[in-house]
Each structure stands twice: as C-alpha cells, then as structure tokens.
Subunit: 453 residues, 2 copies
C-alpha cells in the first residue's frame, strides 16, 4: 500500500474512449482540485490518451489560462484528444517509464470499461517495475454500462438529447402518422434507448415512443411486426426506439441483429452487396415492417454522433457530476481534501468526502452510486442523491481472462414484462438524471358539424 | 377579380406536407390576425390538411383558448395534422363544395410547392363552379426550394439544428480523428446541407465540415475518394456533410446516388438484398471511402426527422417570420390590415403592409424576399431585412404539364468552384437566418519536454 503523499507532486490525466458532452468538465474538476490543493507542481495531460502516454506527449494543465478554460470547459468531446487502445504489457512498461521521466506519482485515467482495464494494466506494470504510482480510473460512458456504477458521466446528457429529440419526433409522427423507427447508441446495454421513454407526455395515452427494444431482450422479427401492427391498429401510428445492440440467438450465441440478418440471406452476407458489407439496422427494420404490414408509411432514422456530444442537451446533474468525479479522483490520490460539497445548484448531494475509506489505496476506480428514489420521504418529494466511492480497479474492469461479465446490463426490474417498455422503477432511476424536458401539448378542439356556418 | 370583402366572413386554414419546428406559429399568426380583425366569424381549420378538406372535417380555431394556445403555439409539427395529397379534379370539387357548406370565402393553405399546386387546383375548381373563393398559399418547407421565395419558414430552424449538431460533431471528430459522413435532408436542393458550413469556427483552419456535397453538383465516387483523401492527408481527419438528394447521370438522366449505386451492382439492385430494397446513403458512402482509403476509421450517420422538428433549435428570425406569413395571409385575404410591423425583437424588418398591391387578387402565394446583405451599409453592419409579397399561385407552383422548373436550386454563386463548399455569398444569405450558434474553442497548450518534471 502506498501512503498518502504529503509533499508537492506531479499528477497525470488522460481522456480515453468515446467522447461525451461533459468529459471536459471532468478534466476541469481534476485541474481545479489539483490547483486548489496547492500541492500539484504539474498536471501532465496526455495528448490522445493512451497514445500520448505511450509516445510521451503531454501538455501541462497547471498552466491553463482563463481563456483556455473558457474555450473548453463546456465544449463537448475530449479537448485533449482521445484514442481507443488497450496497452500491451510492453506498452504499459513504456507508459510507466514515461510517467517516471516526469516524476508523476498519480495517473487519473478517464473513460469507460476499456479505460479501467487499461488503468489496471498500467498499475500492474508500475508494481512490477517497482515504481511508486497510483492509478485511478475516473468514469465516463454514455452507455451507463460500467460495472459498480449506477450510471456514468455522459449518460444523463446523451439520454437527455435522445428524450428531447424523441419528444420532437412524437410531434412529427402525430402530424404525418406512420411508423418511425429510431435507432440509438448504447452498445449492448439498454439504458440509452430506454431513456427515450422520458419523451412521453403522460397526459396522452398515445404519446410515443410506443415500443422500445433493448438488447437485454432477444429480438424476434415476427413478434416485432406483431407489436408494430398492434400499436398501429390502436393509435394509427407507431414510433419505435431501438438500440443499436439488439440481437438474437444464432447457433445458441447472442448475435447482433444486422449480423444475424446478413447471415440469414446467405453465407456471403448480403448477396452482391459489398459496399459497406452491412445494411443499417434502421433500414433492415423498416424493410421488415414494410414486408409485414402493407400500405403503411414506414421511415427509419439512426441518431449519429451528435447524440453523444450534444452540448445543447447537457443534463444539470451530469454537468455537476462530471466535474465532481474529476475532483474526487484528485482527492482519492491524496492530493486534495474533499472541499465543499454541493457545487452548482441542481440538487445533487454528496457524502462527506473526508470519510472516504479508499483514500490510501494503491489506486482504484471512482464510482457513482445512486440512492434509490422513492416518491416521497417524510411526505415531501425526494431529492436526487448519489455517493462517490472508490473501488478496486478490477471491480469495474475484471480481467478478461476470468470470464466474468465485463459490463452491466439493464436490471430486469427496469424492463416491462412484455419486453418492449420500461417500468416505473426506470423512470425513478433515469428521470432525475435526465431532468425536465419540454413535452408538447395538443390542440384539442371539437370537430364542427358538417354544415356549421 | 374578387373585391375586398368588407363584412364578417368565415375563413379556412390547412397545414400540408412535412412538419417543421415553426409551422404552428404560422397557424397562430393566422388566428391572431383573423381574431384581431374582428371580422372573422369562424376560422375553420382542416384536420390533416387536404384529407380534412376532402372529408369535411374541421375544428374552429376562433374558439381557441389560452391553454390550447399555450399547448401548441411553440410545439413542433402540425397541431392540426398534415397529409400529402394533390387533390384530383373530383376531390377539388368536393373541397369547394365543403368550403361552401361552411360559407368559407378564403382558404389559407400552408405548405411547400405541392401545397401551392393544391391551392391552385382548388382555386380553379372554385372558379369553374363559380363559387366566390380566394385561395392563398402560405409558404413552409425546410428545403428552402420554393420558387419565388428566398427562403421559407422552417428552413432557418432546420438549418440551425444541423449547424449546431455539426459543431458538436466537429468536437467529436477532433477527439477521435477519422472520417465521419453525415447525411442531411433537403431533397434535391443544397440549402440545408450547405447550412452545415455555419458550424465552422473561423478561428481554426481545420474546423469542419471539410466537404459539403450538394445535389446541384453531380457526384463522382472517384472525385469523392480523392477529396476525402486530400482532407485526411491535410488534417488527419475529415467530416463530410452530404445531402440526401445527391446524384449522378445514368443514361444521361439525373439519378439519385443510392438508386444509381444499386443499378451498378446488377440489374436486380443489391443482389440478394430484399430487406428494404435499398442501402442507406451514409452506409454506401462509408463503404466507398473504406474501399478507397485503407486503415482509416470511417463512420456515417443520417440525421432523422429530429432535424425538421427541432424545437430546441428554433431560429429567432424563423420564429417571427413563420408567424408573420400567417398574419400576412389573413391580410392578403382582405380581412385584416397589416397591423404593427416588427413583432418580436430579432431585428427582422418588414415593408409597410398597407401598400400591398396583391390585396384584391383572386388569391395567391405569400412569398419571402430577402434584401441582399452587404457587410456594411454607411459604415455600420447591416441588419437582416426581408419583404413579404403576394404573387400568383402559378409563379410558386407552375402546372406540371408546362415543363417548367418546379423547385428552386442553390444559385451558382452560393457554391464554391470546386463544388464541395459554399461561398461567402452563402454565408451572407444563411448566416442571419440561422443566427448565432455556439462554436467551440480549443485547448492550445504547448507540449512539454520529454523529461520535464
């Protein structure tokens, strides 16, 4: 165990994996906490994450100016650049060597589960070369599928964008009724696609999305057509939200739908189609509905990268939490104390940071734990509350060789029995994270008589 | 010619074609002007546009309450519902009959070029049955391709959404460099895809989108790969914006690219692919880049219906203009005078409405004419200014039989000589319409030395 470092020291920070709308807030949390501590000489930030660590390319965030801060603190994406790379043992040794050249004693590695795994690999490399280093993983992923976290910075804002856009699409679909199929990100976890349920205006029974397909439930084309037919029969329209990660069993193995559909068309995939080797999921599902239901207007759309970097849809809680996980990482590194709680004013509350048990660990992963919400506590509506903790790296990123689950899925209590909707428990979970969004009313005027003048 | 009607009268209003973020503002402009005139008995609004006109299904907007107004005035989409339908002669006769049953003397028909054509058909049907009716077309289309209009309500907001989303995507692409291809709406006109140029931060030479493909220029796969290679070579990344309507000549005829690519794969389209009969344009272009450039990360995205109903990205000018074209339609119908100018506070200025020459016409189409912008007028930055006018219906919607152009294209002076960018003239045209959007800065810190401590 490494003790708390009491003198001045150098720390490093790296951004890794896919961008989010708020990851630069985490960078600023790291910078502000480190500078406020008065104990950071340098804050070496790797350019393009693991790439910069391996190639020894850093900038010093201790020298950040107010103008630079203004430029990037609220900009989406990774201001330092990112990269997708799990370091090999050799690369990890190079990283440790580079950190040593800068006398860096703590590395904060900001990303998803791959990044947590990279952090563990670097921590192990430091141990084997007997270099005194603490490696902390700081969470980030729009998919909310990181083990030991109830959600992760980036998720609430991506969810907010999707819920907002789907509330617009509901108005569109009511204007020109038909079937609309929207495909969202979220990898093989349903948290993101489930968030589209928050688009609904509870005042109206037919408010959409009407059907939500999560990867946690196997997809069945026949059932899908049946579901769409039922909704269309009931409301004269149907809005469907589908996760990019839905799939079905092929030879007993979970296979993503676009791959599975490709196989069903023949061994060489889509016949003569070699353009991109695949059809988009939205197009495939539109085709399935068109074949199954005649005479209905069917359209599909696939949300692009805008959903993960939607600076115009940042959730208030995400804004605060993304900053605080960075601060907390610095605190966990023993550099700064917890500082004041309750930054911002969105009702987020944190535990007393000074009680943190993991503070003198060899390293670890910062995790967010939500307190389960109830409607009322002592007769008043409950306020959102979460706890930051530090857990061992391998809790968040089990070594792949162990055969343990590497990611989290939607818990069954969030998924409705029919498998195409979410439950009230999910609304309690995601509602505060996403925050209030604008939902739209209707013009409810009685029809006039045929000859009224 | 029908004279100005001086007593109280009934009018009708219909929404047609695709939704926009602001078309309900036009409805409110109609309602407010008609009610303020004190001369409208009923404002019969057709349910689902032409469908309601044919089926004699109306609500009376004269009875709208403050709550209903609050519900829908700023909601995207068509609160009355829409429909795509060019009435046959028989249907037009039915419509005239239904209007007569309600003693309606003026019909305001709100939509794009198909709607203007429908308005002309109804006007002709009224004339042939000798029913005294004025039919006015009120403009709306996100594509900005309506003849005689410099732009149309709905376009500025859709453009604003796209420019905003592309400024986020620029941050994403800088984080994880690669090639990203975003497909926008816009039919066969380039105005919408061109608006993505407004996402660029002029402070940075590499700010994206780097390449913009408009339908006004024939698409060539080889040149496309060459363009992407060049940009990628220069900046290490490449963001491409492509209109859904791009195409090439096949047997001497303009053919949309997805159709053209399908044909090039064999007479029966995409080999065995029968799912939806087509591949998405984004996927096709991703495939082309992947085949042409090795070892580069290439992704595509297709903006969905959210782009045309983005209530979160309404342009200030669009907000005002959408309302005013509705007011103007009522004024053109001789019901109300022009009222006060300069509603709102976004710097839009209108001509003196009382001078309107078309006021006693048989009907017509409301059009928006922008005054060309110069940088400076008398040494001060020029303010956006536009004129509303009334023109004959067949100017906006020439009868199809005449072989005249039915829609407007981007003028050549908006397209750069290389065909993959816009010109300063386009920025002057679209900049005020879209309004200021948030563009993001960079963290420009010097790299530290390899052994700095």
């Amino acid at each position: 165990m490494v003790g708390v470092i009491t003198g001045r020291m150098n720390i490093a920070y790296a951004q890794s994996g896919g961008p989010t709308a708020v990851i630069n807030r985490t960078m600023m949390g790291v910078v502000d906490a480190a500078l406020m501590s008065g104990r950071a000489n340098h804050i070496f930030a790797a350019k393009h994450g693991p790439k910069g660590l391996i190639e020894n390319r850093f900038v010093d965030l201790a020298g950040i100016t107010g103008f630079q801060r203004e430029n990037v603190a609220n900009a989406p994406g990774q201001a330092l650049g990112s990269y997708r790379k799990e370091p090999t043992d050799e690369e990890a040794a190079t990283i440790v060597c580079n950190l040593q050249r800068h006398d860096i004693r703590a590395l904060l590695y900001n990303g998803g589960d791959d990044s947590a795994r990279a952090a563990a690999i670097i921590q192990a490399a430091a141990a084997s070369s007997r270099y005194e280093l603490q490696v902390f993983h700081v969470p980030k992923t729009i998919d909310a599928d990181l083990l030991a976290n109830d959600h992760t910075p980036g998720y609430p804002s991506a969810a907010r964008f999707l819920a907002t856009a789907m509330s617009w699409i509901d108005c569109d679909n009511r204007s020109l009724p038909g079937v609309y199929i929207a495909v969202t990100m979220g990898k093989n976890a349903g948290f993101l696609v489930a968030s589209t349920a928050l688009a609904r205006n509870p005042e109206y029974e037919d408010s959409s999305p009407h059907l939500i397909y999560m990867p946690e439930r196997l997809f069945d084309e026949e059932q899908f057509v049946h579901d769409v037919k039922r909704v269309y029969g009931q409301f004269g329209r149907c809005v469907v939200a589908v996760s990019e990660g839905i799939g079905k069993l092929v030879d007993g193995k979970f296979t993503e739908l676009v791959v599975a559909l490709g196989k069903s068309l023949g061994g060489d995939g889509f016949g003569g189609l070699t353009l991109s080797g695949t059809i988009s999921l939205a197009d495939a599902l539109v085709g399935i509905v068109k074949e199954g239901i005649e005479g209905v207007r069917v359209r599909g759309g696939t949300f692009g990268y805008e959903q993960r970097v939607a600076a115009g849809a940042v959730s208030p809680i995400d804004r605060v939490e993304a900053y605080d996980v960075g601060r907390y990482g610095v605190y966990a590194a023993g550099l700064a104390d917890g500082g004041s709680k309750n930054i911002g004013s969105c009702g987020v509350s944190w535990p007393d940071w000074t009680s943190l048990s993991g503070r003198t660990t060899e390293g670890g992963s910062v995790v967010i734990v939500q307190r389960p919400m109830n409607e009322l506590v002592n007769g008043t509506p409950e306020q959102y509350s979460a706890t930051l903790n530090l857990v061992p790296l391998d809790v968040v990123a089990p070594p792949k060789a162990k055969g343990l689950p590497l990611k989290k899925f939607m818990p069954p209590e969030f998924i409705s029995p029919n498998g195409t909707d979410v439950t009230p428990a999910f609304f309690k979970y995601a509602g505060p994270l996403v925050g209030d969004i604008e939902r739209f009313g209707r013009l409810e005027l009685p029809e006039v008589g045929p000859d009224e003048k």
